[in-house]
């Protein structure tokens, strides 16, 4: 397997951490890590050669001559800070398992080339919560020795806190595979998943939205883990703006669906609060009703 990445410059890094994100539900991880990159003023230093993994997005021709092709970008950035950071942002996730594995290995090849020993990924956790509730962050390490550390992060829970899950779960795509491959290479890895209300995660096509409220939670947890201060003012403003749109959409739902969804305001994982969390059966029913509502295109415009 040949090298499928390019390094434009070789930053001097000391014991850096890698933070990686790709598009996903609500773009929670991508928003958070991109915000971090911009906030820190991280500099680009390399990229995965995307043509090995992705079909091009666009082609351009001029006077009948091929000019170029655009591919989904997969870029590396670095920032020297209290903790040196390497940031990876991918514009797309491949669909095929072997390609996912190959990209994960390429990202970690670069990370290890710069002496990285720890990796963070960020994404979404679809949860039975209400959009007015502050999303928590599910922290999933790839080694038992990291468990106590992540429990100390701000506003985080671990899988075993999620009642019926008994510490089990599944992290799809590169957020999970990267940390699996990291474990194989004996690198520390922690996945931070910001909660997104299940009904928002299941909004159909045209109503799909990003969910910066969860990105903010992820950033707060990440800042704690990295021991760096992140000003979350701008992402909070974005989250407030999206919340107003969600409120408008919520208000247009039929009252019986809203009443069902309102129950989610009282859901707590560790200690259920009255009137009690919704059942799996109710969850299915709500999702079906929300989906039906959007299919009909009632009220909302």
């Amino acid at each position: 397997m040949g090298r499928k990445y390019k390094i434009f410059k070789k930053p001097e890094t000391h014991d850096p951490y890698l933070i990686a994100a790709w598009p996903g539900i609500g773009n929670i991880g991508l928003l958070a890590v991109n915000y971090l990159k911009n906030g820190l003023g991280a500099e680009e230093f390399g990229e995965i050669e995307p043509w090995h993994f992705f079909f091009p997005k666009t082609i351009s021709t001029e006077k009948g001559i091929l000019q170029g092709m655009d591919f989904p970008a997969s870029k590396f950035y670095y920032k020297k800070a209290e903790r040196d950071l390497i940031i990876f942002l991918g514009e797309a996730q491949p669909g095929e398992e072997d390609v996912i594995y190959e990209i994960a290995n390429s990202v970690l090849d670069v990370a290890e080339e710069f002496g990285c020993k720890r990796v963070y990924t960020a994404g979404a956790a679809v949860a039975p919560i209400h959009h007015t509730v502050k999303p928590r962050v599910w922290a999933v390490p790839n080694k038992k020795s990291l468990l106590e550390e992540v429990k100390g992060y701000r506003n985080t829970i671990v899988m075993s806190d999620l009642g019926e899950r008994e510490g089990r779960g599944n992290i799809t795509g590169l957020n999970g595979v990267l940390l699996g491959v990291a474990r194989k290479r004996n690198l520390e890895g922690i996945c931070l998943l910001g909660e997104i209300p299940m009904y928002i995660a299941h909004f159909p096509g045209p109503y799909t939205i990003m969910y910066p409220k969860a990105s903010q939670s992820v950033l707060e947890a990440l800042g704690y883990g990295l021991r760096i201060r992140i000003d979350t003012g701008d992402i909070k403003a974005l989250a407030d703006s999206v919340e107003r749109k969600v409120e408008a959409l919520y208000g247009s739902l039929p009252s019986e669906i809203r009443e069902e969804l309102d129950k989610l305001k009282h859901v707590g994982y560790v200690q259920p609060t009255e009137p009690g969390p919704i059942t799996e059966e109710e969850k299915e029913k709500i999702l079906k009703e929300v989906e039906e509502f959007f299919k009909k295109g009632e009220k909302y415009d």
């Binding site: 993994f53 079909f55 091009p56 001559i65």
Partner: protein, 262 residues
Amino acid sequence: MIEEASRPGSPFLIVGWSPDGGEVGWRVLDYLNKHLSARELNEIEPLGFFSLGGVQVKNNIIHFPQSKFYFVEGKNLIFFKSSQPGSKGYEFLNRVLDVARRFNVQGVYTIGGLVSMMAHTEERRMTAVFNNPELKKSLAAYDLEMDLDYQGAPSMSGFLLWAARNRNIAAVSCWVNIPFYFAEGVDPKADKTVLSLLNRRFALNMDLRELDQAIEKQDEEMLRIRENNLEVDRYITKLERNWGLTQEEAGKLVQEISKFVT
């Protein structure tokens, strides 16, 4: 495998993909294979490039991805007839270009159908996109639209042009326009337009009368449909007058024609 003695010297490579508008690429290659008595040369194994969790069934028949090279003795031509890979496109295209390199190919020609808002009674036109200005110059005498300015969704042929340019292999993608209501069926006029170009470009001297018969048969069939279905006739007339169709009208036309034309 091809015997060393009968290897073509600096041949041209002609490529056709499926799926394709009107399946022009494969139909043209099938015609070439049959009329030039092409021989199978090699193939690319599907593993890693195609989803192999099952097989597709179309028109009651099991389909399986295929990616085969053929060559024509004495004509300096290699053909590549392939399904479009679903995964690792760049690696796949480089396998194709490895073969091109191995045989010291002079140039790559891809053939494809360009689904267009046009009437079947109109003349088929061909558009070409090049990865190399010299190749463009060399085809200036042919009846090709050669000055396309375009930015948008790419095709597998466009990706091949780009990959070929990275390896300094000259390539051109040739597109023939196809009435949108023939996109899922066949368009012998489009096939003939492409084959006429290849006939001339590579001095193939192929007899295309078989296609004339197919064109005549399809024209008669379309005439009959228009006589029996005034809505179809009205839509096609609008296309002939360049008035265009709404999305709904275009959908209806496709639906009606698909009942008769396969």
